[in-house]
Point group: D2
Chain length 255, copies 4
Amino acid sequence: MPDFPPVDLNADLGEGFGAWRLGDDEALLDVVTSANVACGFHAGDPVIMRRTCEQAAQRGVTIGAQVGYRDLAGFGRRRMDVAADELAADVLYQLGALAAFAEAAGTGVAYVKPHGALYNTAVDDLVQAGAVAAAVATFDTALPLLALPGSALEHAAIRHGLPFVPEAFADRAYTPDGRLAPRHEPAALITDPAEAAAQALRIVHGHVTALGGDRVPVRARSICVHGDTPDAVRIARAVRAALDEAGIAVEPFTR
Amino acid sequence: MPDFPPVDLNADLGEGFGAWRLGDDEALLDVVTSANVACGFHAGDPVIMRRTCEQAAQRGVTIGAQVGYRDLAGFGRRRMDVAADELAADVLYQLGALAAFAEAAGTGVAYVKPHGALYNTAVDDLVQAGAVAAAVATFDTALPLLALPGSALEHAAIRHGLPFVPEAFADRAYTPDGRLAPRHEPAALITDPAEAAAQALRIVHGHVTALGGDRVPVRARSICVHGDTPDAVRIARAVRAALDEAGIAVEPFTR
Amino acid sequence: MPDFPPVDLNADLGEGFGAWRLGDDEALLDVVTSANVACGFHAGDPVIMRRTCEQAAQRGVTIGAQVGYRDLAGFGRRRMDVAADELAADVLYQLGALAAFAEAAGTGVAYVKPHGALYNTAVDDLVQAGAVAAAVATFDTALPLLALPGSALEHAAIRHGLPFVPEAFADRAYTPDGRLAPRHEPAALITDPAEAAAQALRIVHGHVTALGGDRVPVRARSICVHGDTPDAVRIARAVRAALDEAGIAVEPFTR
Amino acid sequence: MPDFPPVDLNADLGEGFGAWRLGDDEALLDVVTSANVACGFHAGDPVIMRRTCEQAAQRGVTIGAQVGYRDLAGFGRRRMDVAADELAADVLYQLGALAAFAEAAGTGVAYVKPHGALYNTAVDDLVQAGAVAAAVATFDTALPLLALPGSALEHAAIRHGLPFVPEAFADRAYTPDGRLAPRHEPAALITDPAEAAAQALRIVHGHVTALGGDRVPVRARSICVHGDTPDAVRIARAVRAALDEAGIAVEPFTR
């Protein structure tokens, strides 16, 4: 059996707000090695951020800043034409706020991953991708960006001297050209835990089976699992179990 | 002439939001030695926070975190019954966010001063005062709290091992028992620059002349001036000029 | 068997926001006769308000405006010292917004009930109670206020010429002096569906059994049930079933 | 001299928020015949909305709903990819809220004009334009939309059976193809009151002189003037004076 490098499992966490909850944070924190913690702009409030950082730190789960558009009503899922200097300031604000809680929990912010529409925009939009990278570089040039390989964000990370960590998705279907199938397409979402686990193993081997059946190469140091539904937690657990059983080391990509 | 210790001049800054401005930040930054920078909860947005920190740093003006209630619509001037753990988290969030901008500007957050209704509540309310102090101590136990001497916040600072810096007001009238005259009373606000300058000099000498004419002792290492009106900027300048002319060293209270 | 007047069942509805949900609106709408619909200040967004109004209208459930403080992060549960003119404007804004959706659904806003901390404040605070009543009277002097009998809000309703509808709580314990037992007390919340159903029947008979066992008179044309937990929906169903079985007409208090 | 039909003058009003003000509402209300009142999503709060409606009503100025994206931090000037059903709900919410204040002031909402990025998006985007028109038609099918002639919003108005009122700009330069010159171009903004007044007169005659000197036909029942700077108020006054002196009836387009 060839020796595979370790892989990280990341998920979005702390995405409630005030009286509202989303997903089962405790269940996910027992599965993942990296927690993308919402920072208050698309979700997350200070109480939730503090608790999520504490719970992650207690379990040795790495904390990343899940930065998003300032859009609570839209959960950060609506693209906004934010000017580069405004977006950079928004990202820096969120980073600083989360860092206070991560440090209070005895650790720190170890990476940054954009959320929702900002993530998608930063795949192609050099201006917004550049603003995110510039803000992160202002905060700490050693902080990795976690995002889609080949994205504008990867280019921006390189340009700003930031480490870049590519991720792949266990529970999303890929197109033959190696991109994510749009959410509205049938079969875009993988809802069977066994299938997601199989895709995670293929990702570790460096490829996925695209819609149509082609084998497509994929580059990932981290695998993203979702957690906002009971099914999603089951998927996350199946992915983790499959990786563990295959002898793949599931470890954070940060030191 | 006796030798007087140095005094600090502080003012609220960066209190715009989005398209809206409040006060003449540039004018005030040329007058004060400490800038209480709004952190986004009662006023201030990331773009304004970045610019205010940069402008303060350029002038060698010390940056403090002006933390407030989460109440943009009320400008943080309405008392809110926020539970201690929520308030502490809100304060820590604001502190972390501002620190990111202060550090990006080559400096850091050097003190904390509550804003508006939170300031007033923390005069008497041990729970809210304690929450503010607890949050600051979590962030950095060397960070001074700037507030009214004798307030619950002073007690809370001592209890949490934080330095406390007492302030007095050049442009507010005092009652014979040494408290601020309520804003709605006639003569509560000192609007004549010469009178404010005279009160600032009396403060340096350790007393004020209260409404009614009594001489009341006052303890202050910093003098607060307001800046949200054109008149207020004139007052601030008059206070600064009077202190300079009297040979009082106007310096930040922080190193 | 004496003939009892009809009673209304009311519950808070539409209290999600954006991606977040709270409670099982559909289940509750099948139980209650009056829906207190959140108006966007403490909870509720335009999409949720539209859907809640449509679902209520389809079932013939009466729509009331559940107005609250502008405090999404605190779910309107934190008392705020809002000035009377600001509070009246906030209430009128919420009323107008909800009316647009209620009318689009073919009906209208039929009553007003304050939410959370505003409800509690309006029990004793004549200024805030008066502001709520003034706003409602500005909107429509025929619109009833639904609240605690004997409260400042009842007085304010009378003063402003508004109908007042007293309510009682099936799932909250009462003190011997006829007030609600504070939430933090043990036994303050009635969690057993059978017990809540029994209390609802006693309310219809004009009394409750207070903590300690005293029989305390209570005046109510509407009974409030909660719905933000699975248990609460079971309680609501038990209350409704008990009233139906006892031959009590469960009807809205509005025409 | 030929007989010209009456023309309306409209301006954005009530665009402060909380402690913040923008523009000189009182000065503008003495100049215009139609007030585009902000509804709380991009600017405006309930207190400001109430006062603006009262002041407009006192002067006989017609009240229109200036609806915008939910983006206080961006003042509604950033395009957002809001889904049609969400946007329609947002617009209906704003309309209902403003109507409560307009009716309390003894009048009503007489038209709708989108603000900022929503205005610009609705020039070309049939989905968002359709959502705005659908919401307005739900509220009142007799309510005119005020916007750029030839825009997607005009088409949407027609499709939903709404009256459409075309407007032109006294203080914006036009391109030879009859569109507004982009703001970032030199000479895009007309800052000389005399020049703006001359352009207003040309608009009444059915044309403007485009950048480059071509005479371009323009269709307008209302002329928009801005008011967010002291200069802009001078421009508005010059436009009004020129129209008055030319004997043009300056009247609302609504009854």
